[in-house]
Amino acid sequence: MAVITSCCVWQTGHSLQTSHLFFQTMTPDDTKPVNFTVKAPVYLQIGDTKADTAHSGVCVVDVNLPFGKPVNIEEVTFKNYYTAYVTVRLLRRNPEQEAPAKWCTALRDLPLMDNPHTERGSQDYYTIHRTQMQVEPDHVVCVRLILRQPSLAWLTFSLEDIKIFPHTEPDPEKEVSDWLSDLTLIDQHPDLEGLPDPQTVSSSIQQMWALTEVMQTNQTTASIGRFDVSETHSQPHLSCNECVHDGGDVMKFGR
């Protein structure tokens, strides 16, 4: 059963080694998150819910994984919205045994906010990897996230954008060709986003080379226009060639 706590107690550090930013580890980029349904978050109250208007400090979010398809979890990612601590509980059903599914705690009171009363960490992105969990998150049927926000400073708290990525077992048997293709995969890690593909860069450099060769043979005396700004327009605007706004290392064409 979910735990009901009183609002003003908040724990300080805790024994499990955690840091505030967890990073996606060996999950290949094309792993799709598992489709699941999230039930509406339930905010717990002490006493009669109708009469009590105090803020709730505990919220339970149940994530039901697809029926009949238990998942081995690789990692759970989410975006925080003013939750101070999160506890992760898993309902696991062992497929071989006939025993009923059992709940267990994978992670208890992971601090998401340094200080529940202040902003740090309140809207950050987090990942919980299977290695950070205290139990093996295999054959999981349901994930229960228990959110705690003991501070009265906030109107509401929740987690957004919850995604669960399944664990893919690496193939034990490999052909040599598979190993070679795996090596090139490792070459691409860590994936630095925003950087151009080396193949396209080298081919475009080759094109530029060819162009400079052509230009050298066809020298022309025509002037090439540069930063040309019109003075006659009434609206403030700029028109330009791209070369002016580079970092400064590009060849400048003179007038």
Binding site: L21, T25, Y125, A153, P190, P236, L238, V244
Partner: protein, 525 residues
């Protein structure tokens, strides 16, 4: 395991940034040339080349470059986080910053249309020639700037900060144990004196400080001589990290220029000089609307200041080039602000026809030139002065005029100032509120300029030593609170805003290090 991944991502990012840089090619060239040396053997090639680079000082230069990258590096990007999250994690602050920027842009655009001055135009050839001749004495020019007004002043920005609210913050309880008497209503993490004592332990009463123990009446053998010797060694070693640590206790005047250049890794290499010359050529060719704003700002602030009016020409040379430097655009990755864009006529919205205006993305406001003015005391070579200023801007000064939750951001500094005052000088704060004075309104203008123009120059440079040494602007907020603590007796006697302002009008006689030291380490808890 996560720390290992984090480390290798960080390393990969730094390598990516340094690869292809001038330092990289220089080191490669050195490595190739050292192959001619007799003590480099083929069997142990790797180790020999490495030890050569170490002894010849190139490894140290690489270390400094890596250290500099660490200062401005973004934390390794968590996969689902969009880039705007790295600029500023809190959504409502991003929104507030965006609407503030819109206001500023509107003001700039309306100024341009009202006055009929285009945002940018090419100078006629005669004007270009004249400017080239007068480059070193632009201050003698007296253009008609009466029609121009600054785009915004710090007090406008303060109003925006005061109005900032977190939509999820429960402010229904007016009076409570946590009630905050100040103007800033955003619950950011700010440090109180016990934490500050730990973090700023080198400013302890028991450690020697430049600014205290180098006083004329104290025998130099007690502290100063040895400290200067250590400083000379640090400069010789050319180690950025050591220089930063050293600077925490202050820099001796004679070594300060070299130490700051080391900390910021602003080496004046030929390519830096060339870059500066290119910017200068850009200034001569084109006239930007923001140039007039810069002229006006310098005339209004630095030229009127007893300490800085002599540097008027330098200020033009630095700031006009700064406006055209697109290398500054890089810092917008970690700045919550976004550079304003201008579109080719008729193609508004088409990103390919968008151009950043001004080219460096920074619109100067009233008092902007005061960020550069103190540096003129340290550097007289324009390209070196320019490099040091640019690095200081993209590390620290940009945080003083953008809305962000960063611990060194102006919002955190304001909140920290108010909290320190309320916690440790509650009577004073209460009294000031009774007479209708909010302390932040008095201290904001100091903090937004990092005290430039308010303190005497030697004291200001001692303060900026600590900003560099601790890589944080927190000490500015601490000093603001310490000034109030120092003048508390007088402030308790005032009965109006005007007299409170008069008490705090002149800070030029203050000694900053004793104030900070006493406030941090001698305040009763």
């Amino acid at each position: 395991m996560d720390e290992g991944i984090e480390l290798s991502l960080t390393i990969a990012q730094i390598i990516q940034r340094l690869r292809g840089s001038h330092l990289h090619s220089q080191i490669e060239r050195q490595a190739k040339e050292c192959l001619h040396q007799p003590d480099v053997k083929l069997e142990s090639l790797k180790e020999d080349v490495r030890s050569f680079l170490k002894t010849s000082g190139w490894e140290r230069k690489l270390q400094n470059a890596v250290y500099r990258e660490l200062h401005i590096q973004l934390p390794p990007r968590h996969p689902p986080a969009p880039p705007e999250h790295l600029k500023e994690p809190l959504a409502y602050m991003r929104k507030a910053q965006a609407s503030w920027e819109k206001r500023v842009l509107k003001s700039l655009n309306s100024m341009s249309t009202e006055l009929g001055v285009p945002l940018a135009h090419m100078r006629p050839a005669a004007e270009q020639k004249e400017l080239t001749n007068k480059w070193n004495e632009m201050g003698t020019d007296e253009p008609d700037l009466s029609r121009f007004r600054p785009v915004y002043a710090p007090k406008d920005f303060l109003e925006v900060l005061i109005g900032l609210r977190n939509p999820n913050h429960d402010s229904s309880e007016d009076i409570s144990a946590r009630s905050h008497w100040g103007l800033i209503q955003v619950p950011l993490n700010v440090r109180d004196i016990p934490h500050l004592r730990e973090a700023y332990s080198e400013l302890n009463l028991t450690s020697g400080q430049m600014g205290i123990d180098d006083h004329a009446l104290i025998h130099p053998d007690l502290f100063e001589n040895e400290y200067v010797q250590i400083g000379k060694k640090v400069v010789m070693e050319e180690d950025s990290a050591a220089a930063q640590q050293y600077s925490r206790q202050g820099c001796p005047t004679g070594l300060r220029a070299d130490l700051w250049a080391l900390i910021l890794n602003a080496t004046n290499q030929p390519q830096d000089v060339m870059h500066y010359e290119q910017l200068k050529a850009g200034v001569i060719q084109h006239n930007l609307l923001v140039d007039n704003l810069i002229y006006k700002d310098v005339k209004l602030t630095a030229s009127n200041d007893d300490y800085y009016f002599v540097f008027e020409d330098f200020l033009y040379q630095v700031l006009l080039c700064f406006s055209r430097d697109t290398a500054v655009l890089e810092h917008f990755k970690y700045n919550s602000a976004t550079p304003p864009k201008s579109y080719i006529q008729g193609k508004v919205g088409d990103e390919e026809c968008a151009v950043v205006y001004p080219p460096n993305g920074v619109i100067p406001f009233h008092g902007f030139s005061m960020y550069v003015a103190p540096l003129c005391f340290l550097y007289n070579e324009p390209s070196k002065l320019y490099n040091v200023f640019r690095e200081m801007y993209i590390r620290y000064f940009f945080r003083l005029h953008s809305i962000s939750s960063h611990p060194s951001g102006i919002l955190s500094l304001c909140l920290q100032f108010e909290r320190l005052l309320q916690t440790h000088l509650p009577q004073l704060f209460y009294h000031l509120r009774q007479i209708g004075v909010q302390p932040l309104r008095l201290a904001f203008k100091w903090m937004v300029r990092a005290f430039s123009g308010y303190l005497s120059t030697d004291q200001l440079l001692l303060l900026w030593d600590r900003i560099l040494g601790y890589d944080s602007l927190e000490v500015v907020a601490v000093l603001a609170a310490a000034v109030f603590a120092f003048r508390a007796e007088n402030l308790m006697e005032v009965t109006s805003l005007a007299s409170a302002e008069a008490v705090l009008a002149d800070l030029s006689t203050l000694k900053v290090m004793p104030l900070i030291q006493v406030f941090l380490f001698a305040t009763a808890m």
